[in-house]
Assembly symmetry: D2
Homo-oligomer: 347 residues x 4
């Protein structure tokens, strides 16, 4: 029993997921690919010796009746249209973030999925599959630190490409915190504000860097996230949750300790692919397993994609306005409601 997958978009992450499915994970096969850049798609077929049909576009690929699941790894702007087509064709969808570039677009997907009547779509927020974040989540759900009150987070990249712009700090960087932090504490955001500290000399003139985002949730949890994409020293993801009974901190990666030349040190990685390599594996295997074994998807939903879109929009608005912007979400449909963890009891 092998899951038959078609991939739309064979760029960086598309190629990586194809490699993953083909060389690292169990239970699935890439049987079709497409890309507006057909040569890119062809090259990937060759590289991984795929036994796959090359389609001219997503429409054709989705129509291939052998295909059970579609991976959407094209540019963000193209996601909505492909997702809607896939839902229409009753295919399972693994869609890289963003689900759609607008809240309205996300809502259209939500409605299409609800109209179909069963979960089909998983959004590629892979941090939920990182072992550190999973342990944070477990600890919170087990009430290890009581009710969360505050979070201190940082998202630091050593550097970014020239085309990286101030708003990408929200759409491409903060977006991962937007998804994972509310998931961690089972809460939703109500407002966002953005502050600009002193700018690093390592940022190009068009980029504000670092930035500090302050998010507030329904239950009053206050979250500050430092975004610093020219920190030079490494790819560093920090997350600290302060609760009524204690504090949790995301661990640094395990690295060999070196004692040498008057220093006790360990490495810190420089890129996100490496940092979250295992999370991507677990994420995609989980998608495959759910579809194959249970005929459904778990993981981040279209609704999570919608919330990320609304929140990111508010953050970008706050980047420009300089003031606190309200985050107004539609009512969560029953279709997407998860059971909250049982009432917490301090032990």
């Amino acid at each position: 029993m092998t899951l038959k997958i078609g991939v739309i978009g064979t760029g960086a992450i598309g190629r990586d997921h194809i490699r993953r499915v083909t060389k690292s994970l169990a239970g699935a096969e890439i049987i079709a690919v497409t890309d507006v850049n057909q040569q890119a798609a062809e090259a990937v077929i060759k590289e991984f010796k795929l036994n796959a049909t090359l389609y001219k576009d997503d429409v054709d690929l989705i129509q291939d009746s052998r295909i059970e699941a579609v991976f959407i790894t094209s540019w963000g702007q193209a996601h909505e249209s492909s997702v809607l087509k896939a839902i229409e064709a009753k295919k399972f969808v693994f869609c890289e973030k963003p689900l759609a570039t607008t809240a309205e677009g996300c809502m259209r997907i939500v409605e299409a999925e609800m109209a179909y009547g069963n979960p089909l779509v998983q959004v590629g927020f892979m941090r939920r599959y990182d072992s550190g974040y999973k342990k944070l989540k477990e600890a919170i759900d087990q009430n290890t630190i009581g009710e969360p009150l505050l979070m201190h987070c940082a998202h630091r990249n050593a550097n970014v490409a020239e085309r990286y712009s101030t708003d990408m700090a929200i759409h491409d960087t903060l977006i991962h915190e937007i998804d994972v932090l509310r998931w961690l504490i089972n809460d939703d955001y109500v407002s966002a504000q953005v502050f600009y500290p002193r700018k690093t000399k390592h940022a190009l003139p068009h980029l504000k860097d670092p930035q500090m985002v302050m998010l507030e949730t329904e239950s009053g949890v206050m979250i500050n996230v430092e975004i610093f994409v020219n920190c030079t020293y490494g790819y560093d993801i920090q997350c600290e949750i302060v609760g009524e009974e204690g504090l949790l901190r995301l661990p640094d990666e395990a690295h060999v300790q070196v004692r040498k030349g008057g220093q006790i040190g360990k490495e810190i990685g420089m890129d996100w692919q490496e940092r979250f390599a295992h999370a991507y594996d677990v994420e995609v295997q989980d998608f495959i397993d759910n579809v194959l074994d249970k005929g459904t998807v778990s993981g981040p939903t279209a609704w999570d994609g919608y919330i990320a879109a609304v929140t990111a929009d508010a953050c970008v608005k706050a980047q420009i306005s300089g003031v606190k912007e309200t985050i107004e979400l539609a009512q969560c449909p029953d279709f997407y409601k998860k059971e909250k963890p049982a009432a917490k009891v301090v032990y």
Copy 2:
């Protein structure tokens, strides 16, 4: 050669400094004490077998011509008057924080000291003498991380007494960060804003806890300080400085590692006296040594006391207003100007 000291106020910290001078430090002797509670003063004389005169008030004590230095460890409201009298009598002064309860009061001391013409006053901001903060300062002055851009700090107490009020979070708690952070980065504050996250159930109804203070400096450094005085788990002081070339973090205290019952753990202390015990020793020894050996004082000045007062006032205003409050400082007189560390060169 022994420094002759008179102590005004023999409460908690007064008694502790007397013990320190008598039982732990070199070069000084307590030869006079006073307290509005005369019995308290008498008890301390007995406890430490001091060969000291008990005076009825600060006026009498300061007049004792044998006394070379005065320790002012009475309640905050009483400090200004005692400091001014001591300056008038040309005595060296070690004054516990606050120097005075108002900016105007601090300014009167500044002017009196300048009128006298030589430094006489040291304010009891002991964190500057903590080995962790000293190493942070050294690293910054040696340009280890380039220009500072952001700071993330936390000041957490396990719990507080019932009388602890929301504004004490500024005057008694944040006050130490107010002094030490600007000293670390050779900068001054320009604004303050206060945020209230979800309240812990462990705080009494009259107290807002935790609080989050956001300070900005002249050069644009943005500092967030979490104040959380019912964190339950320990006395925890965190300080992280993010610079253009890297990051510095104040170390936790060294404690024995225990591996037991599925856990790798170490203790975290519960009280500030213990956490900063060594810093107090170094601070007071430094005062004694400077006066004895060089006839002057180093360490936090009356001007530092003035800045702390202005900044704390702005923070309290911000606690009430909820908006960003400007911090306006008088021009720093040449008398108090320190040479800045040499222009930084990244290595």
Copy 3:
């Protein structure tokens, strides 16, 4: 292209490798199984819905011409015979440790493989695939700490089953250090000595626990390994290498930091399956990839299996004699010689 695998022995680790190949890894399929306990084998087929033939014994299974690789996960005593049959049938072999229970048995396999003329056998020493050990190896090969001089290691289990005997401390516990430590430093052992410290009250009367093994290598590196299988607190693997220019230490696993109740703590796992889960995955995927893509095996060889057997025998002898026992190895055939890392240059 899928590697067709037959499994001999569907006990604990056999079942786990079947699960791994079927549910976690890419490129292979279990198409046949056998076990002296036929019901156990049948149960595993059912559990993982394998499309696999159940054979009555290893002879029959190996003869199945579709099978390209054989996993030997039966009891240790049965390994040699199955490995020899598989080599005879020109199948690739992944054999759990031990390769054989005697040095002579291992040598027979070595000779059979050399007679065949190409590498066929990989021994299941999975630590070489653990990310921590891999980083240690890289650091040593890159000469980060110059020439190794000393190693301090510990292998601790929370507890063991009643049937665990004193010599199993060598054959089942130390065996992993025996393989991985010489691999780390590109060296071979010349002697072994065993010491018995004070016995823990948690060990049953028939078991000496803890034990301390001292190994010496050709180049004079001295290694002490603490074996402590009733340490109660967790499964704890320590490895420290002291070199001429510095020191390397195997990291503890990354776990969430918790600050609570006067403690800063993190979890330490209780079992080895969890500790080395990822290493097993990488190990078996590496076997599959090498066979599929390159038609060979890499990883621990039959020669490594031979060395482990000789060394373990000397350690058991030393357990009984109490004195230093010499370890005498046959000359390494060219067939098994690996290129040593290039001459080390201190940087």
Copy 4:
């Protein structure tokens, strides 16, 4: 009330204790000094502006009736004679290690002190006053890890002077472990063995470095101590105690964490003076306080000095013989018996 001290030997450590008493500690005064190098003694008087008599030798100094306590900080060979004279004169003695260079010499001091009838002598084993070791001791006495079974220790210096010889690894380096380890676990040694790992290229031809010492105690605890005095990277003191219920590890010193250039690092100090600076202060203050307040000494006794001498002799013998050497101690006189901590109860 000030303790009047005379100092015999104003070399490195003598000068440092004089500085300590004069500039850092409370309650004592140096009123007399002597040194076979009279100019050295004179220079120290000048440097610290001591109001002290310069004596021509220890005989004259000890006779000064004002002197209440004698610090013996001359070369090791001169200690015994000065200690005996001081006991005869009924002076308190703080004697740097070694108490005497032979077991017999130590025993003569033990007998002289017992003849006098009250404790007079404290030996300068300062590690007992280090906060890390003190916390280890507390944890053991509180039975945190049950009965100790094994200890892993390391004593590493970045480098040593040319005159440092193989036996000094015992007399000047291991000596501190010899004292502090048995104190930690309330036990005595019964045997010693020395192993020589591969030699570092950084050691001069006449020096064996590193060395590995294996000590066994009465209760069967097995201790291995790595001595490595050309480790190049820092001054590194490690101590790990493995008990029936868990493990304790001496902490590294607290240092600022730096994240920079792909590394997370912190400093490790290069010299022992700095590492144990605070321990020396606490040690000497403790001597002063005990003599002044209670008319006695606590801390390492003449008997501890005797045990250190016997143990060190056995270790040197073992360095030469290569075999396990027995350590035979005289019966501990009641005079020196400390109450053992109450019977341990596991919690």
